[in-house]
Subunit: 383 residues, 2 copies
DNA sequence: CTGTTAGCGCGTTCAC
DNA sequence: GTGAACGCGCTAACAG
């Protein structure tokens, strides 16, 4: 062992200074068991005087509880995840838990490493937005489960994986947005941020297959788009779906391509912020005014959308609520670990009172929060 | 002690399964000391078979190193801090460290609580963006120092406090932005996001005093604005500085007020994203087109700024770099703790090669990263 | 009510 | 090379 940690008096030192045994000091400082008022005061005074601070690490080793939640997201610098983490932190800190945040940049390897780290650091639970698209690549999640660490999926489901989860009703939201465009009279609607395919799809099934092999949330949005088209009897033109790399510049290229079509789209539905900015750039460079020559609806509302010219109609995701719900669900799960025998709900902190869909499939709970279409001025009848 | 943790084999179990002593298992698994190849293989096999995972918490208690960095920011849902945390995470994870992120919402009490939690969880270092405006309210920072935990200030300095820090050259950036407006011919420039004062300032010194009593970064930006005015011999009109609550709606109100002045400003410099959106809203509602009737420069570049109509001229802050540098500085400090005897710099990981100011005042290092003025199309000559 | 004693899981020294 | 033994700081039974 190295040199004595520069300072930090131990509980033994406090006990000595107070003239009592460790246990008594531990009891007062730990806030459990019985201890005489007199002794308590002495201990408290000694602790105060020495500047004692309980070592939570040591405490965690003994109790098996770290009061830390692991949060793994794609990218903390993405405002969406920033909002989610804020929501998680809010309810977590109110319960005395902190968040260990790790970004994976959508790389499965990083996600696996992140979960391993969290498991090794013995976090009490994990909230993660997985990059996994199928049950085959979820060994790391199983690892966490095996270690008895509660897990809740955030923003993205994984087909074939039964786990607690909190997501947005992406499909319904995308459908509503598309329908809004259809209602305005559009028949050729561009979809920006389709699945990453090497070859341009020819048939609807190519798209559906690719969507299923893709990130759940993105796939759902594409399905919602297809749903709306079906309902209104509009034909799907694969040329109007951007496919390939998910970057702003690629979105720009795809929109530019669509604009050059014989019958270009008269409206665009963008399912991501970068897809939207890329589209906006392309529209500007192509000399296509909004909404007179092209209507636009974006995803992920931001304060910027309202000050655009024209103000943009957007699908607003309840980021904070997403994070809060996930944390509540996880915390409830953690509480359950200790007192598993009985049911759940003790505090009425925040039940299920919204119109959000909540389904219980056997053991696990899945919450589907509603996204809201914020209508502004970027949608108009086609030229 | 409760029931045996559902699973997680201990190092003893691995040793038993491998038929060796704990120490031998510990040596192989811990990667230190000597151990015969044969024994090593047996241990490794046993560990693999049992699905052994070292308990980092227990390890941390012994070693005194948690491989965790504490990061306390104002609000993780703010894209600026999201970017900063991403930068921190990048360099931290490359070194095997993780980030415990806590938001304070600019409340000093929350900040104090956050630092206490981090100290108690024995993080190896803390990066924080403090809400403290003077040395008088930094007892919590002293606490961390007393516990031997390295600290680096991020984005904000605290007058009178000597600590490592990484910040932006706010004053110079604000000055450059204002000068840009002056160069375009503006003489009445509105400053949005001034200090929170109850009473409207009458003289320059009221403003300077308030700035000094305010968040360092905000104060510096105001000083930069004043610098530019001075240099060009322009008079300061206190009416053109928004003061009060720092919210988008208040920025809106203040700009609306300025617009109603006898000689309204012909340009606006907004030092925060919310200040900018509030200003933009006010300008739109006031029927003031940009840049023909009012020029605008904002702070905190975002992908949105480029797709606005017109594209906005902005002051871009190197958020990622800010986080990276802070993490590097902190990590270097942490390395130094163990091998304090000798000087510093061992790895040439990333020295000081930019034109960013780096000053060493005695013991501590302060880095000042340059912000960049991104010129687009929201600045024009006054009407 | 209180002190003793035995863990928790792991790091590390030190004889054998 | 290896294993016994002790330490890290704290929790928690258990007698007294």
């Amino acid at each position: 062992m190295g040199k004595a940690r520069s300072s930090s008096p131990t509980i033994s030192e406090v006990a000595a200074a107070a003239g009592v045994g460790r246990a008594t000091a531990a009891r007062t400082l730990g806030g459990y068991g019985y201890v005489s008022t007199e002794a308590r005061l002495r201990v408290l005074a000694a602790a105060e005087g020495l500047g004692y601070r309980a070592n939570q690490l040591a405490r965690s080793v003994s109790t098996g509880i770290s009061h830390t939640l692991g949060v793994v997201v794609a990218d903390i610098s993405n405002p969406f995840f920033g909002g989610v983490v804020r929501g998680v932190s809010e309810v977590a800190s109110a319960r005395g838990f902190d968040a260990l945040v790790i970004s994976t940049y959508e790389h499965l390897e990083d996600e696996i490493a992140a979960v391993n780290v969290l498991v090794d650091k013995r976090v009490d639970g994990i909230i993660l937005s997985s990059a996994a698209c199928d049950a085959a690549s979820t060994a790391h999640l199983q690892l966490a489960r095996d270690q008895g660490i509660p897990l809740v999926l955030l923003d993205r489901l994984i087909p074939g994986v039964e786990l607690d989860a909190v997501v947005i009703d992406n499909r319904a939201a995308a459908r509503a947005a598309t329908e809004q465009l259809v209602a305005a009279g559009h028949t050729r609607i561009g979809f920006v941020w389709g699945p990453p395919m090497v070859e341009r799809p020819r048939f609807r099934r190519d798209l559906v297959d690719a969507a299923a092999r893709n990130l759940w949330s993105d796939g759902e949005r594409l399905m919602g788009y297809l749903d709306a088209l079906d309902d209104s009897g509009l034909p799907l033109d694969p040329e109007l779906v951007s496919v390939g790399e998910k970057t702003e510049s690629h979105a720009y290229d795809e929109v530019t391509r669509m604009l050059a079509l014989d019958t270009p789209p008269t409206a665009f539905f963008c399912t991501e912020t970068d897809a939207l900015t890329g589209t906006l750039h392309a529209l500007r460079d192509g000399g296509v005014p909004i909404p007179s020559r092209a209507s636009v609806i974006g995803f992920d509302d931001s304060s910027w959308a309202a000050v655009m010219e024209p103000p943009l109609t957007m699908v607003e995701q309840p980021m904070l609520e997403l994070g809060r719900r996930a944390a509540e669900l996880l915390l409830r799960r953690i509480d359950g670990e200790d007192a598993d025998p009985e049911g759940s709900g003790s505090n009425e902190s925040s039940g299920s009172n919204e119109s959000s869909g909540s389904s219980r499939h056997g053991e696990y709970t899945q919450l589907e929060l509603p996204a809201r279409l914020v209508e502004r001025a970027s949608v108009a009848a086609p030229h």
